[in-house]
């Protein structure tokens, strides 16, 4: 499973630009993943969110955590292939701090329950060791749609 750490993110995620919200997978175990994303100053959404006071939209922080959760779910399959995980539910996610341009967000995702095709995942986002968002999400696996 550790070979995932050396693989290009496009080999792991079914997403493609401009909707890849993970740069690197840092740690992986059965049902657990740590990943990171550098939030660059020139991210397009900063132009509007907000002019002169840029910070990362909460929905995109959720997307970072959901993509990490998708990888965590796929670790429960031996070949880590064969399906796309869709975000189906966002349960009580809290946003505790703003994520500013030129920072690195680290996401942790732990699968806490599964009833395939549904997977409940505990997720957090951290910047500089401080939790910026946390909550639970439900991902649904759709078979056979892997890019």
């Amino acid at each position: 499973m550790d070979d995932i750490l050396k693989r290009d993110i496009k080999e792991i995620l079914p997403h493609r630009e401009p909707f890849i919200f993970i740069d690197k997978v840092l740690e992986v175990k059965d049902g657990f993943v740590v990943a990171s994303k550098v939030i660059k100053v020139d991210e397009d959404y900063f132009r509007g969110h907000f002019p002169g006071q840029p910070f990362m939209p909460g929905v995109l922080i959720v997307e970072c955590m959901a993509q990490t959760g998708g990888i965590a779910c796929s670790t429960l399959n031996s070949n880590m292939k064969g399906g796309i995980f869709f975000l189906s539910r966002i349960c009580d996610v809290k946003f505790l701090q703003s994520v500013m341009p030129d920072s690195t967000i680290t996401m942790r995702a732990q699968v806490i329950e599964k009833y395939p095709p549904f997977y409940k995942v505990d997720v957090t986002g951290e910047v500089d060791g401080k939790i910026v968002a946390r909550g639970e999400i439900v991902l649904t696996k759709q078979e056979g749609r892997r890019v």
């Binding site: 539910r89 009833y115 549904f118 409940k120 439900v138």
Partner: protein
């Protein structure tokens, strides 16, 4: 299991459903044989199945191992009660 205890179990399962999926109808309004899902049912959607599986294990210590079993058990309050009794040896 005596009739009183079984009636209490039915009530307990109904309360569990309401709490687990944040159902808008009171527990006592749920009929024992009314479908949980589908157009004729009490209004649960497919994602609620996961919440029921979690709640069943938490409240009654019984686990639905897969969707095959789930399709037979997550049908009505009555099928849930029968499953709990079967697993608990009642």
């Amino acid at each position: 299991m005596g009739e009183t205890n079984q009636a209490e179990l039915y009530d307990q399962v109904k309360r569990m459903i309401v709490k687990a999926v944040k159902l808008k109808i009171p527990a006592e309004k749920i009929e024992n044989t009314k479908p949980l899902f589908g157009p004729e049912g009490i209004g649960l959607d497919s994602l609620d199945a996961l919440e029921l599986v979690i709640a069943l294990e938490k409240e009654f210590g019984v686990r639905i191992p897969d969707r095959e079993v789930g399709r037979q058990v997550l049908v009505s309050v009555e099928t849930l009660v029968k499953f709990i009794l079967e697993k608990k040896g009642g």
